[in-house]
Structure formats: structure tokens, C-alpha cells
């Protein structure tokens, strides 16, 4: 048993090393592979938020639809703190250059090298903390509601947050309905995945700990969990706040990817897309969420693009068809493959290995069986 574990760990490390190599190579040849890089960066963002949502919905059983709101908080915190003071007058021009935050982390940490990267990471973490704070405040009243009501209440809060961020009176802070830009961002796809990887790793560690077991108990049977000494209020709150923290970090990453932050981007449709990613990947599977984030982004931005191409001369192919096909595929998964790609299992390298190693003997057994008939 121990050898298996060791072997799996080594295989996982090799896999991670290969991924890192691939990403560095892509970055080095970034001009020819800009599409791939964009997709990988975007899927990193979605992966973080999807895994965070899976923690809440898949592992703790809390159906919350407020992710877009927490992403918004993280994105704006990052943007507001990182716009260099010198640029602020221009960015906030719709408000006559008035701005309430007058120091910038970008100025503190500079715009180059490891110091700048540190500044960005700190800003991301702060974004997560702001999101976590709001989650705590919202969670106090809302977490005791039944699942459908929890969904609508969190959806409502996300909409309320968005309305506040678009409000003119808060303009000198949020730039109202206008775009916030001018802040520094990660220039390499590797950084996105390093941050995403770290976030996902922490969530996995949490889920494998005693707290993770407590979350699953809450999901499986609240009454029994309470009877076994697991405080529902406390553990639901821990799950909610943690999930929202990482949604906030994801929001900051999204702002970096888009090089801007704008409240109207964070509508409830974004939450729905994350939810659909979680469903496609399998509620309760971390590797599923990561895979599905990648598949979703790749299909949406790249592989299914041809469906929108009128010049191909195929009837039905024109702008918007891609999303329709996509929506139909999602419905098919929701209806017929409810468990998603991975169900509630994780990627088992041992199983894949076994599948291939035993292939020859299984094929032989099959043909023998056919002959016997």
C-alpha cells in the first residue's frame, strides 16, 4: 500500500513538472500561441472559483449563488489598491479625478521583478479577505436558511453588491459604472497557474483534514452531524467564508486577466457559468472542476468557435450558435450525466495506469470469449 502511495505521489510530481515545462515553453513562444495562453489563463481563474464553489456546494451541501458578488469584491479590491497613484486622476476622470484611496500597493512594491509579484500576491490576498469579510457578514443571517432560500438570498446579495459598486455616489472609490484599469497584472501564464495551483492545493488540504470530514458530514446528514458534535452554524460559516475568500482571489485574478475591473461583468450569469462548470466536472470532485474549467473555457473561446462562422456556409452557423450548442450540451449533462465527468471521484493515476496495462489481457480475454461462442 505504501509503495502505491509513493508511486502515485511521484507520478503526480512528474505530471506537475511536465505542466510547468509546457507552460514555460508556451510563454516563451507566446506570440504564436496567444490563443492557448489566453485560454489557459482564463481557465486558471475559473478553476479557482469552481473549486471554491465545489467546496461550498459539493462538499458542504450549501447551495449558494453569490459567487459573482465575491469575485466582484476581490476584483475591485485588487484594482483599487493597485492602480498607481500617478494614474489615478486619469482613471477616475469621470469623477473629476477625485479618489478616496490615495496610496497604492503598486507604488510600494514597484512594478518590476519579484517585489512587484509580491505586491500583486498581497493585493490578491487582500481581495480575498475583503470577500471573506462580506461573506461572514452575509452568512450570519443567511446560512440557516433552507437550500432554495439560501440560493436566492445569496443571489440577491450578489446583485445588491453589484448595484452598490455601480452607484455614482461611491464613484471616487469604485469609479461607478466605469472601468477601473491601469493596474499592473501578471504577465506570464505561469503566474496565473502558480496562484491557482496554490489556492486549489490549500482547498484540497482543507478537504482532506478533519474539517473536510465535518463538511461532508454536514452535507450528508445535518441532524446526525449535529448529534456527533459538529456545530452546524460554525462549520457552514467556515465553509462559506473560505469559499468566498478564494472566490475573491479568483476575482482578482480575473481583473488581472482582463486588465480591468467593471461591475457589469459580474452579473449572476457568471455565477451560473461557474455552477455549470462544477456540474460538468462533477459535484464533489476537485479534479473534475479543474478539468471542466479548462474544457468549458476551451470550448467556449476556441474549439466551438467554428459554429459561429457564417463563412463556412453551413446552415445554422452564425453568431451565437456556439452558445446555443453549448447550452444544449450542458442540459444533456444535467439530465443524463448528472454525475458529471468525474462524479465524486478524483483523478486516479493508478487506475489509469491499470486501465492501460491490463488492456492487452482484457482484449485477449474478449476475443477468446468470442471464439468460444
Amino acid at each position: 500500500m505504501k509503495n502505491k502511495k509513493l508511486r502515485n505521489n511521484i507520478l503526480t510530481l512528474i505530471l506537475i513538472a511536465l505542466v510547468i515545462l509546457y507552460l514555460s515553453w508556451l510563454q516563451a513562444n507566446s506570440s504564436e500561441h496567444s490563443y492557448a495562453i489566453a485560454i489557459l489563463e482564463r481557465s486558471a481563474v475559473y478553476a479557482v472559483v469552481a473549486v471554491a464553489m465545489n467546496l461550498l456546494t459539493g462538499f458542504t451541501g450549501l447551495f449558494s449563488l453569490g459567487q459573482a458578488g465575491f469575485m466582484l469584491l476581490g476584483a475591485y479590491t485588487y484594482a483599487i489598491l493597485m492602480v498607481p497613484e500617478a494614474s489615478r486622476a486619469t482613471v477616475y476622470r469621470m469623477f473629476q479625478g477625485n479618489h478616496w484611496i490615495t496610496f497604492s500597493l503598486a507604488d510600494v512594491f514597484g512594478t518590476a521583478g519579484a517585489s512587484a509579484a509580491l505586491g500583486m500576491v498581497i493585493a490578491l490576498i487582500l481581495g480575498g479577505l475583503v470577500a471573506a469579510l462580506f461573506a461572514w457578514l452575509i452568512g450570519l443571517p443567511v446560512l440557516r436558511l433552507k437550500s432554495d432560500y439560501l440560493a436566492i438570498a445569496t443571489l440577491g446579495f450578489a446583485e445588491i453588491i453589484r448595484a452598490f459598486f455601480q452607484w455614482d455616489t461611491l464613484g471616487p472609490l469604485t469609479n461607478g459604472a466605469n472601468v477601473l484599469n491601469g493596474f499592473p497584472y501578471f504577465s506570464s501564464v505561469m503566474s496565473f497557474w502558480l496562484v491557482a495551483g496554490a489556492c486549489i492545493a490549500i482547498i484540497v488540504l482543507l478537504l482532506r483534514s478533519t474539517y473536510g470530514r465535518a463538511f461532508r458530514a454536514v452535507r450528508d446528514d445535518e441532524v446526525a452531524a449535529e448529534a456527533m458534535g459538529i456545530s452546524l452554524a460554525k462549520h457552514k460559516m467556515i465553509s462559506f467564508v473560505t469559499s468566498s475568500f478564494f472566490a475573491g482571489v479568483g476575482g482578482g485574478l480575473l481583473a488581472m486577466y482582463q486588465c480591468m475591473a467593471q461591475a457589469s461583468n459580474f452579473k449572476s450569469s457568471m455565477t451560473y457559468e461557474i455552477l455549470l462548470i462544477v456540474v460538468i466536472g462533477g459535484i464533489g470532485s476537485i479534479t473534475g472542476s479543474v478539468l471542466a474549467s479548462f474544457l468549458f473555457t476551451a470550448c467556449n473561446e476556441w474549439w466551438l468557435r467554428f459554429l459561429d462562422d457564417e463563412s463556412l456556409g453551413v446552415p445554422l452557423f452564425r453568431g451565437g450558435f456556439r452558445k446555443v450548442v453549448f447550452a444544449v450540451i450542458i442540459m444533456l449533462i444535467v439530465l443524463f450525466y448528472r454525475k458529471g465527468i468525474m462524479g465524486d471521484r478524483e483523478l486516479d493515476l493508478g487506475a489509469i495506469g491499470r486501465f492501460f496495462r491490463t488492456l492487452p489481457s482484457r482484449l485477449r480475454a474478449r476475443s477468446r470469449g468470442k471464439e468460444a461462442r
Partner: protein
């Protein structure tokens, strides 16, 4: 003379809307005893359990555990007008220094040392046998969220796992420890529930129909098992049961309730021959 009092239930009444489910119940359980609560179906036994473990807030009355009040209430709000039970004024004021209304969530009560099993088995369906027991030791953790996440609590985690494994061995389930909990046969699921409850390190164990659905041989094994764990873990046991053999065999004392009211109590032999008890179970013979 009775041993130290572990559980003291005083004038507990539970009223839902217009229906009284538990009526003015008073019971005492001493350390080390095995006490049974019996009565016809629907008599209010599980409701009594729920009042003790904090699932319900009793409408009126007092529950104390090892001398400390864990539940106390009097008819308030809508209940003030609706209450049709007894002793409505007895618990209005608390003695000096104590609160008039005491209510705790079930997880707090479990942390004090009261554990329970359920009439309809409530195992954690997505988990294995081992994980079910392991999860129940979560409440005894000394680590916090950060140390648990970043594996700074390796020692504690290892200890929890060893204890869980030991418990499974005690109940004879370590052979199936990695099987999904729901794949076990019924009798073994019941044993798993007991093991899980034991994992919370209780002093008082509430068993709700532990022998339900068992055949006579399994029931005998269960009887021996309950005696064993009382010895091994220094437990006090309070059980609800319908299998009269088990009850008469194992109980030091029995409480009988019907329609929410206590109708008899005492040693098994007394209760067995009590005409009111017989009437409650079998009905009255009008012809003789």
C-alpha cells in the same frame, strides 16, 4: 442508595401546537446504570430523547446532566395561551445566579458527553465505515482550522485515526472499514452507529431502538455488547427498546410511558407485572 446522578429529567413537557407529545416526565439515571424507556409506539419516547439531546426545546421543565442544567424552559410566546400541560408556573423563575431559559444546540450537548443513536439509522452515506467513526471524533480536536489544514496537527490526526480503528475493532467492524457505510447489512449498520456515537467519548449513551430489525441471535449479541461497552468505557446507558427480552435482560431499571406520560417505573420484575403496563401494551379485556 443511588449512584451519582448523571441525568435528571424534571417535569419535562413537549407540546407541538395543540398536541402534547411528552407529558410531565420525571426521570433520574445514576452513574453506571442501564435504564430502559419503553412504551407503545407513538408514546413519545424518541421525543423525550430529542428533548434531552437538544433537538427539541422542551415546552416546560428542566433537564440537567451531572448536576448542570442543560435545558430549561417554561411556556412562552404563543405557548403561553396554548399550553395545556402541568406545572406551568414552576419554571418561570430560576434560582439566583441561573437563567430561566436554558437551551443548547445538539452539538454542544454532545460535547458535554451525551451521545445518541437514531431510530432510523442516520449514517453518513458518502463515507466509508472508517470515515463515519473518524468524523465523530472531530469535536474532540484541539487543533484549529489552520493547523488542521496545513498538517501541523499530524500527531492529533494520527491519534484520532488509531482511536477510530480501535473502536471499529471493538465492535468487530475493522474488516469492512473501507467499505461504503451504506453497503453494510442492517445489523452491522446499527453497530456502526453505536461505534460512531462512542467515538465522541460520551459518558451517557442514548440508544434509540438499537435492536430494531434484529433476529434473536443478533439481539443476544447486542445485549452482551452493551454490557461490555458499559464496562469498557465506563458508560451510563439509556435506551429505548421494543424487544422485551433485551430490555428485561439488561436493564437495571425501566421507565414506562404511554401517551407521553410516565405510567410505571422500577426494576424489570415489578414493571413486567404492573397491570397498567400490561394494559398499555395489550389493551383492556372488557369481559374479565
Amino acid at each position: 442508595m443511588m449512584a451519582e446522578n448523571v441525568l435528571h429529567v424534571e417535569n419535562v413537557t413537549m407540546q407541538f401546537g395543540g398536541v402534547i407529545a411528552v407529558n410531565n416526565l420525571t426521570m433520574d439515571i445514576g452513574r453506571g446504570e442501564i435504564v430502559a424507556l419503553i412504551g407503545p409506539n407513538g408514546a413519545g419516547k424518541t421525543t423525550a430523547f430529542n428533548c434531552i439531546t437538544g433537538v427539541y426545546e422542551p415546552t416546560n421543565g428542566l433537564v440537567s446532566y451531572c448536576g448542570g442544567v442543560i435545558a430549561r424552559n417554561h411556556p412562552r410566546g404563543k405557548m403561553k395561551k396554548l399550553y395545556s400541560g402541568e406545572n406551568a408556573d414552576k419554571y418561570l423563575d430560576a434560582p439566583a445566579g441561573e437563567k430561566a431559559v436554558v437551551s443548547h444546540t445538539p452539538d454542544y450537548i454532545t460535547s458535554l458527553g451525551i451521545a445518541r443513536t437514531f431510530q432510523n439509522i442516520r449514517l453518513f452515506k458518502s463515507m466509508t465505515v472508517f470515515e463515519n467513526v473518524l468524523t465523530a471524533s472531530h469535536l474532540r480536536r484541539t487543533s484549529n482550522l489552520f493547523s488542521a489544514t496545513f498538517r501541523l496537527n499530524a500527531k492529533e490526526e494520527r491519534q484520532m485515526r488509531e482511536d477510530a480503528l480501535a473502536l471499529l475493532k471493538t465492535v468487530g467492524l475493522d474488516g469492512v472499514r473501507d467499505d461504503p457505510a451504506t453497503s453494510l447489512p442492517y445489523g452491522m449498520q446499527r453497530r456502526l452507529e453505536i461505534a460512531r456515537a462512542l467515538s465522541t467519548q460520551p459518558k451517557l449513551l442514548l440508544l434509540d431502538e438499537p435492536a430494531a430489525g434484529m433476529n434473536p441471535q443478533e439481539t443476544n449479541e447486542l445485549t452482551a455488547f452493551i454490557r461490555e461497552i458499559r464496562e469498557q468505557f465506563g458508560l451510563t446507558v439509556f435506551l429505548i427498546e421494543h424487544h422485551m427480552n433485551l430490555v428485561m435482560d439488561i436493564s437495571d431499571r425501566i421507565y414506562v410511558i404511554d401517551f407521553g406520560r410516565q405510567i410505571a417505573s422500577g426494576a424489570p420484575a415489578e414493571v413486567q407485572n404492573n397491570p397498567r403496563v400490561i394494559e398499555a401494551y395489550l389493551g383492556v379485556d372488557n369481559n374479565g
